[in-house]
């Protein structure tokens, strides 16, 4: 298995639409929301993650897409990108909320 110290490694497979990725140094923190997001994509047949061993901080993330035209890695990329955009929006929303709160209490 190549790239054991890299952030993202891949279990070798001949089919690019069914891939298991190994996300090093990650836990349920990203696994759970990411798998919910990727499952939500219409081209995705299956997305799931597991922690192969509790003493090792990594997750196996498997994506299977509905057709050979859609690469699993593209679904992963889309999921990560959406995750980032969700949190950017949440960041701005939080700032507004705090602003509104301090405006309403300083009157």
């Amino acid at each position: 298995m190549e790239g054991a110290e890299r952030k993202i490694a891949k279990v070798p497979s001949s089919d690019d639409s069914c891939v298991t990725f190994i996300l090093n140094d990650e836990t349920h923190t990203i696994g759970q929301p990411l798998h919910m997001l990727i499952n939500n994509q219409p081209e995705v047949e299956f997305a799931g993650y597991s922690v192969p061993h509790i003493l090792e901080k990594k997750i196996n993330f498997r994506i299977q897409t509905k057709s050979q035209d859609h690469l699993a890695v593209d679904s992963l990329r889309q999921g990560l990108s959406d995750f980032e955009r969700f949190w950017r929006h949440a960041d701005a929303t939080f700032d507004n909320a705090v602003q509104r709160f301090s405006n309403s209490t300083t009157h």
């Binding site: 349920h28 929301p33 990560l80 990108s81 969700f86 929303t93 909320a97 705090v98 509104r100």
Partner: protein
């Protein structure tokens, strides 16, 4: 239709079970769609002071809320005492116990000013903070007042390298006072503690002493619907089943009648099912996409700052992985 909508978005809490828990096929979950989220996601701050923030998140998936909580607990870094050189300790506490107590004391300094230390290098101004503690209790006294408590207020900051210029007067690194300085050990006349303590940067996942929150937690928004009129003694009993403030009693035609005042305060204890005559009178449920989130700070960072840093860490996580993916693609 309203009932159906309510069903879709709420978990029904029954005496022995929870129903309607499965959130439907992920493809149907609106809160996972970016467009829906951007239009409908709301945050309302319910309370805010220097140690705690309570805010509600509406139209968000629970796994995101949980991710925020997990990051607050184990990935937001702080500085904490990690290496203690004990020169003299004649107090009743053993060296290692005293060292462990010191390690757990929060250190009030902005962790962003420091980097994580690499194993094997000498601590420097960029990755360490040093404090000195030297207290000697005067020999000879026999009264209670001749004893001395060693507290976090007795620590003296020792600037390393250029650190003296890094901090504005009055905002130098110090230990957090939790209402009053934390007592570390007590000295009898003649006893002494002399040590040098160094802080390094790490996160809660490494050791709980680095955790910046005196916990952070969330709960789904509870909803309570009274299915019938409950009056008299039963109303008082119903009120006692819930947390104070959830149910209030108002007088109607000379009778005391129960009504739902503030379901947010409820802890979903299901105490109402203790009483056979009240079991069928309420419908308890929890929202699937509306959460009340509380963050309590240990005093190192403000609660708002904590939430912002946690969100930033989540964004950076995704960015790093996207960056890796792109490199990966180029390599293959």
């Amino acid at each position: 239709m309203e009932h159906f909508d309510r069903l879709k978005s709420r978990i029904i809490v029954e005496e022995h079970s929870l129903t309607n828990v499965t959130t439907g096929h992920p493809e149907e979950r609106n809160v996972l769609k970016l467009d829906f989220f951007k239009k409908n996601f709301k945050i309302n701050v319910l309370s805010l002071d220097e140690s705690r923030i309570v805010f509600e998140l509406i139209n968000i998936e629970f796994s995101f809320v949980n991710a925020l909580r997990r990051v607050l607990l184990s990935e937001v870094p702080t500085m904490a005492f990690d290496r203690i050189v004990i020169l003299n300790n004649t107090s009743v506490l053993q060296d290692e116990i005293l060292a462990q107590r010191i390690g757990l004391c929060p250190v009030k300094v902005d962790p962003d000013l420091f980097t994580e230390r690499t194993e094997g290098t000498e601590p420097s101004e960029k990755d360490a903070l040093e404090f000195k503690l030297h207290i000697k209790c005067e020999k000879g006294g026999k009264r209670e007042s001749d004893r001395r408590d060693v507290t976090t207020a007795d620590f003296v900051w020792v600037p390393l390298g250029d650190q003296a210029n890094m901090f504005v007067e009055g905002e130098e690194p110090c230990l957090v006072d939790v209402e009053s300085p934390i007592v570390l050990t007590k000295l009898l006349p003649g006893q002494e503690v002399d040590l040098i303590a160094q802080c390094f940067k790490s996160n809660g996942g490494d050791h709980a002493k680095f955790q910046p929150v005196a916990t952070a937690w969330y709960k789904p928004l509870p909803q309570i619907v009274l299915k019938r009129r409950i009056a008299g003694e039963a109303a008082r009993r119903l009120q006692s089943c819930f947390s104070p403030g959830v149910i209030d009693i108002h007088v109607e035609n000379g009778e005391e009648v129960a009504r739902v005042a503030n379901p947010r305060l409820d802890t979903i204890s299901r105490n109402v099912f203790k009483y056979d005559d009240l079991s069928d009178s309420v419908e308890l449920s929890m929202a699937k996409d509306h959460f009340i989130f509380t963050v309590e700070s240990t005093g190192i960072l403000s609660p708002m700052d904590l939430v912002k840093r946690a969100i930033r860490i989540l964004i950076t996580k995704a960015q790093r992985m996207l960056h890796e993916l792109n490199k990966f693609e180029d390599a293959s």
